[in-house]
Every structure is written in structure tokens, then in C-alpha cells.
């Protein structure tokens, strides 16, 4: 039968749209419900983060990193702190390392809760989202107690952390770990293996291994495509080599390897691994010692040169590249962030052809972008 050719309809999805996870604009060309091409337009949340850094002291840049990936501020703080510490050769006290691991993994769970909660929401499941958000609220209470802020913490400083914690706080973290485990099982029952959910998420937005590598996928997106690569395991920074945890990868158990369901499931499983890490860290930590011991008074000792450090944030591999010229009261000559969500977003154009409008939302939700980090 001869195909009837119709004109394509151009639809702007965003920047004001409930499911573009912020201010992303997608230009969709559709033939009815079938998407012919999808072009993301960025920059609606561009705040010149990297340029601002060039006129700021290294310690003052830390609050700016909060505002990049605002859902995982701790991990961003840490990525930047790692870069400066490497440059200056600072040894961080062990207590601070443990604290960093605990708060970052807590923040990773909070970030993944947003990821799979809103993914469910994109598919139309409202209840799991709110059940998960109850847990996120508990995490925020804990992080607020530790750092004083609920979302933008400015907690992990170069050389240490901003505030000390008490042993009661550690007990509360332990309590959270216990309360989280049944909830994630409940989410599995309610959402992960729900037949409608599986039929919506499986076999949609398939990213094979080679494509994932070509487009610079990292983090849960890459692992969802079946590649076992986690910087915490493969290139351990800080004290991650002390912990015993698994790296969950997608297996295509409900559909094809690398589909949206695999990426979603990777995040669900990763939160369980994070709980494992936190529990081990709670056992290993000792509260003696000064947290400010290694925090530099000033950055006059900053050498001339450049550094690139990568670390594993909830969205993937965040790289911080700093060029320093040294000198008195130094500021970075250039600061560049390799943003995992930005790279992941680039695949949309490639895999969007031929899917339905509803699937675009699902794919976008499954690669878990945060526009603050994409645009910086």
C-alpha cells in the first residue's frame, strides 16, 4: 500500500512544559503522534558558572557548584574539592573522608529518588513519586542538621567539611537506612514490575553499548546499557576502596538491553548499594579529630598548572578542569565542568526518530537530566 505523505507538525515542547525537567526546549517535528525529529535547545538556565569562577577564590566557588546540579549538591561540592585538593596536594583527614562519603551517598539517594520518582510521574504514576519523596524529606532533614541547608549545602570544603556532626546524627542516619529499605521494596512492588509501567518503559529508547560510549554516557545511563563502569569502583577516589558494594548494571531483563527500564532499574538498585556504603561508613567512622585540620587558610600555595579530576555523581561522571596561574589570592584562570547530563542529553536527537510523543517524555525522564547542570 502506498504510504500517505503528510506535512510534519512542529511542536515546541518547553521551556514551559511539565515534563522537560526544568527549562529545556525540545523542537519536535511530528507526523501525528510519531516523532520525526527532536532537537533540544539549551541555555535557558545558563548562569555563567564557569566564567564566574574565574573571579572567585577557590573556597568561594564551592557554593556555585551547589547550583549546578542542585539535586546532588554534595557530590558537586566534592567533585570540585577533589580537583583543588589534587592540585594543592592536600591530605584530607580520615574523619572528613568518612563524612563526605556519608553525605554524598545520602545525597545520591535523594537524587535518585527524584530520578525514578519523576520518571514514574512522567509515565503517569503519581503515588510512588510521593512515597519516595517522603524518604527524600528524611534525607533533607539529616543533611540540614549536618550542613544547615536543605538543598544547597556548601558542606564539602576544600580540605575538609564545613561542620562537625554528632554521634546522635550518625544514629539518625542509621535509622534512615533502616526506614529506606522497606520503602524501596514497596516502590518495586508498586512501580518497577507493574505491567503497564514495564510496557511503557521497556523496549523504549534503546541505547546499545557502542552508542552509549559514542555519546559519552556515564553513570547509571551507561550502566543501564550493560557496561560495568563506576568510578567509585574502577578508579576509587577518597576512601571508596574500603567499602564493599556492587555495581548494578542493566541486563535487559524486561525488554532490550539499554532501554529506559534498565536505566530506571539501575538507579533503584544503586540506592540499595548506597545504603550498603553508608552502613559500612557508619561503622568505620570515628568522631575524634578536627575537621578543619586540612582546610587551607588561603590559596597562596596554589601551584601553577592544570588539573582534571573526575568523580561519580548521581548523574554520572563529573569532570572538573581547572587551570591555575598561582600567585597571591589566586583565582582559577579557567574552570570547565564536564557535565554528565549534558552529554547524555545529546543522545535525544539520535534515538528520538520514529518514537511517539509519549516516548520522548519517557526517554527524557530515563536519562535523568538536571538543567542546572546542563546549562551551568
Amino acid at each position: 500500500m502506498e504510504q500517505i505523505k503528510t506535512d510534519l507538525m512542529t511542536i515546541n515542547m518547553g521551556p514551559q512544559h511539565p515534563s522537560t525537567h526544568g527549562v529545556l526546549r525540545l523542537e519536535l517535528k511530528t507526523d501525528g503522534e510519531i516523532v520525526d525529529s527532536c532537537r533540544p535547545y539549551l541555555g535557558y538556565l545558563h548562569r555563567c558558572f564557569e566564567k564566574h569562577c574565574e573571579s572567585l577564590d577557590y573556597l568561594k566557588i564551592v557554593p556555585f557548584t551547589d547550583r549546578m546540579d542542585y539535586l546532588a549538591a554534595m557530590n558537586n561540592n566534592w567533585a570540585f574539592a577533589l580537583a583543588v585538593e589534587k592540585m594543592m596536594g592536600i591530605e584530607v583527614p580520615e574523619k572528613c573522608e568518612y563524612l563526605r562519603v556519608i553525605v554524598s551517598e545520602l545525597n545520591r539517594i535523594a537524587s535518585h529518588i527524584i530520578a525514578f520518582g519523576t520518571f514514574g510521574l512522567d509515565i503517569g504514576a503519581f503515588t510512588p513519586f510521593l512515597l519516595a519523596f517522603n524518604q527524600r524529606e528524611l534525607i533533607f532533614d539529616l543533611l540540614e542538621e549536618a550542613s544547615g541547608a536543605r538543598m544547597l549545602y556548601n558542606y564539602i570544603w576544600v580540605g575538609g567539611v564545613a561542620r562537625d556532626v554528632t554521634s546522635e546524627w550518625l544514629k539518625k542516619v542509621k535509622g534512615f537506612c533502616e526506614s529506606y529499605k522497606p520503602v524501596i521494596n514497596e516502590i518495586d512492588d508498586l512501580l518497577s514490575y507493574n505491567k503497564i509501567f514495564v510496557s511503557r518503559a521497556a523496549n523504549v529508547g534503546i541505547v546499545p553499548k557502542d552508542l552509549a560510549i559514542d555519546y559519552g554516557f556515564t553513570g547509571p545511563n551507561l550502566r543501564g546499557s550493560g557496561i560495568e563502569f563506576d568510578l567509585r569502583k574502577d578508579e576509587p577516589y577518597s576512601i571508596y576502596d574500603k567499602f564493599d558494594f556492587d555495581v548494578p548494571i542493566g541486563s535487559g531483563e524486561e525488554g532490550t538491553l539499554g532501554d529506559c527500564w534498565d536505566r530506571y532499574m539501575c538507579r533503584i538498585r544503586e540506592t540499595r548499594e548506597s545504603i550498603k556504603i553508608i552502613e559500612q561508613a557508619l561503622e568505620g567512622i570515628s568522631l575524634e579529630g578536627d575537621i578543619y585540620e586540612a582546610v587551607p587558610k588561603n590559596f597562596n600555595k596554589m601551584p601553577k598548572g592544570e588539573v582534571y579530576v573526575r568523580s561519580e555523581t548521581p548523574r554520572g561522571e563529573m569532570g572538573i578542569y581547572i587551570v591555575s596561574e598561582g600567585g597571591k589570592a589566586p583565582t582559577p584562570y579557567r574552570c570547565k565542568v564536564r557535565s554528565p547530563a549534558f552529554c547524555a542529553l545529546s543522545i535525544l536527537e539520535k534515538i528520538a526518530k520514529g518514537v511517539m510523543i509519549s516516548d520522548i517524555i519517557v526517554i527524557l525522564g530515563s536519562i535523568d537530566i538536571v538543567l542546572g547542570e546542563v546549562d551551568r
Binding site: M9, I11, H17, P18, S19, G32, E33, G120, L121, D122, I123, G124, A125, F126, T127, L130, L131, N134, L190, L191, N194, I196, F197, S199, R200, M356, I357, S358, D359, I361
Partner: protein
């Protein structure tokens, strides 16, 4: 003549009251039930006292404990909103659309058999009338999407039309089986056929008509009921079939551009349609105004019939809400697959089974 006009006025008044009350109560229930399922509180602040104070311009105290007047207060708020009509809109159709959608729902209330003595219009083709009029609303939805000059609205209305037209078939066929059994299209006649104990309900076969042999039809009728229930969910655009207004995909679907009272009318019509859809299920499958136990029927307790009917309907509405807050949404092609590949063959199968039963067994 006077009497006729009086009768029309009373009936219309009662119907308007019923539709509004049903809409407002359903919206309130939806909020409370969803809150209960999602570990939230739902509306807590607005009681009737605080609402009266707010209207009178007095100081508003926190009087409400369970937010009983929340839907009323929302209605009042929507009344005061600016009525915005987009520049590029087809103004006539834009204004007409909510009226048609509401009229489609409102008119169906005329033939709902709330009790033997309370059917506003007991026409002999009651069921046919309800099915015909309720599908009439879809043209209003199509108008709304087309006239608002919004691509999301257009997509939403196209989805809605495709969905409603498809799901008419399983709904219609599943109801035709009942009509074959009872031999009448009158809503009253269909309900009266299920008098007595609950096993006389059509859900359990045709016991009320032909005695014990009627149990042969039990599986058929259960399939019919499930098919009808799924179909009515889809026809009223409820989750998991709420793709026409899928808020995560199409912003708000066909009513994206509507504000204020026009939006409220769509909203009210939606809840009215849910009531009608489930009321038909109650009347045709679940014994209508009969409680299922002869001791507590109209004959013994006067005035209980409408209460029984409304209670049964709200139990079904609760199930509808339960489904909505539990399940994710289907994709548009999966929705069509469900209808054409599963529901229609199943209902056709039951249709022929009932026909064979009717011709060869009894």
C-alpha cells in the same frame, strides 16, 4: 399544561442539583482518597464556617478539620477568574465546547434509574438514549481542542476522539448482552429484572430470569462487567486511560487553553461522566436500587432505594479513584491494542454466548 411545566422545572432543578452535588462530592472524595493513598493529608483548612466568613468578608479562622468545603471554595474561586480566550481561537466553537461537553453529561442523568419512583425520564429506550447522548460529548472535546489554536489541545482532542470512538464498541456490545437477556432497553425494566437476592444481579448470570440454569452465564457476565468497566474508564478519560489530558505529555490536553468557569465546567462534566458511567454499571450489572437482600429493600424501608443506588455507584467510583492513584498511564497505541485486540473480541464472544444461551438453552 401548568403541571407539565412544573414537572419540567422540578426535574431540571433536581438534576442540576444532583449533577453539582455529585461533582462536588466526587472531587472532594478524589482529593481525600488520593491523599490517603499517598500518605498526605489532603484538604484540611476550608470548612463551611470559614467559607461563609470569607464570602461575608469577615476574618477567616481555621475552622475546618477535614476541608469539607474545599471543592465549593474552588468553584467560587474559578467563578471569579478572568475568562481568557486566546487570540487565535475560534471564539464561537471555543465558547460552545464546554457547554456541549456538559450537556452531554447532564442529559444522561435524565434516564438514570435512581429509584423506581425517581427516574426523571423513564423512556422505553433509556439505555440507548444514555449511550447516544454520552457519546455526544466527544464532539465538544474535539471542538475544544480544535478551536483553542493550541497544538497540545489538538493532539489531546484527537487522542480523545480516537479513544472514545473505539471504546464505544466494547461498552456497547457488553451492554447489548444484558438487553438480550432482559428483552428491554428501559432502564427501569432492566433493574426490575434483578429484584430480590443479590444472585439475581446480572453480574452473576441470568438467575433472576431463568432460575439456576442462569448460572451458566456467570463467566460471561463477569467478563462483560470487566469489559464494560474498563471501557467506561476509557470513555471518561480516567487513568490508566487518561491520555487525552496526560499532564506529563500534553500539558492539559484539550482544555489546555481554558480558564476559570469554562475549565470548571469541563471538570464538573468529567466527574459527572464518571458518575454516569458507574451508575450504568450499577443499574445493569449490580442490581440498581435493590440492595441484594430483600429485607432491606424499598418494600420494607421506604426511601432507601436512591441511597442504595448512590452508595453502590460511589463504591465503584472509589474503585475508579483507587485505580487512578495506583496505575501508570498507557501509551496511545497500547490503548488501542487493548481495545481492538482484547476487549472487542471478548465482548463479541460473550455476546454470542448469550445469544446461544437465549436461543438454545432456555
Amino acid at each position: 399544561m401548568d403541571n407539565i411545566f412544573l414537572w419540567i422545572a422540578i426535574t431540571l432543578g433536581a438534576m442540576v442539583g444532583l449533577v453539582s452535588v455529585v461533582g462536588i462530592v466526587s472531587i472532594y472524595l478524589e482529593r481525600k482518597i488520593s491523599a490517603f493513598m499517598q500518605d498526605r493529608l489532603g484538604p484540611m483548612e476550608v470548612g463551611f464556617g470559614s467559607l461563609v466568613n470569607a464570602i461575608a468578608g469577615k476574618e477567616v479562622l481555621r475552622e475546618g478539620r477535614i476541608g469539607l468545603a474545599q471543592s465549593l471554595a474552588d468553584g467560587l474561586k474559578l467563578l471569579q477568574k478572568e475568562d481568557i480566550i486566546p487570540d487565535g481561537a475560534d471564539k464561537f466553537l471555543f465558547k460552545l465546547a464546554p457547554m456541549i461537553v456538559f450537556a452531554g453529561t447532564f442529559s444522561t442523568f435524565a434516564a438514570l434509574p435512581l429509584a423506581e419512583y425517581f427516574i426523571p425520564a423513564d423512556v422505553n429506550i433509556g439505555l440507548f438514549y444514555i449511550l447516544a447522548i454520552s457519546s455526544f460529548g466527544v464532539s465538544g472535546i474535539l471542538m475544544a481542542g480544535w478551536s483553542s489554536n493550541n497544538k497540545w489541545g489538538l493532539l489531546g482532542s484527537l487522542r480523545s476522539t480516537a479513544q472514545m470512538v473505539s471504546y464505544e464498541i466494547p461498552v456497547g456490545v457488553s451492554l447489548v448482552s444484558i438487553v438480550m437477556l432482559t428483552g428491554t432497553l428501559s432502564m427501569k425494566g432492566i433493574v426490575v429484572a434483578q429484584e430480590g437476592w443479590f444472585w439475581n444481579w446480572h453480574l452473576f448470570g441470568a438467575v433472576g430470569h431463568h432460575g439456576l440454569i442462569g448460572f451458566v452465564l456467570l463467566p460471561m457476565m463477569v467478563i462483560n462487567f470487566i469489559a464494560y468497566f474498563i471501557g467506561s474508564l476509557a470513555e471518561t478519560n480516567r487513568a490508566p486511560f487518561d491520555i487525552p489530558e496526560a499532564e506529563s505529555e500534553l500539558v492539559a490536553g484539550y482544555h489546555t487553553e481554558y480558564t476559570g468557569m469554562r475549565f470548571a465546567i469541563f471538570f464538573l462534566a468529567e466527574y459527572g461522566a464518571i458518575f454516569v458511567g458507574n451508575a450504568i454499571a450499577v443499574a445493569l450489572f449490580l442490581g440498581g436500587w435493590y440492595s441484594g437482600i430483600p429485607a432491606i429493600d424499598q418494600a420494607n424501608i421506604p426511601g432507601i432505594a436512591p441511597l442504595v443506588f448512590i452508595l453502590k455507584t460511589f463504591v465503584l467510583i472509589f474503585v475508579v479513584m483507587w485505580i487512578r492513584w495506583t496505575l501508570p498511564r498507557l501509551r496511545v497505541d497500547q490503548l488501542m491494542t487493548l481495545c481492538w485486540k482484547y476487549l472487542i473480541p471478548f465482548t463479541l464472544f460473550t455476546f454470542f454466548s448469550v445469544a446461544i444461551y437465549k436461543v438454545f438453552i432456555v
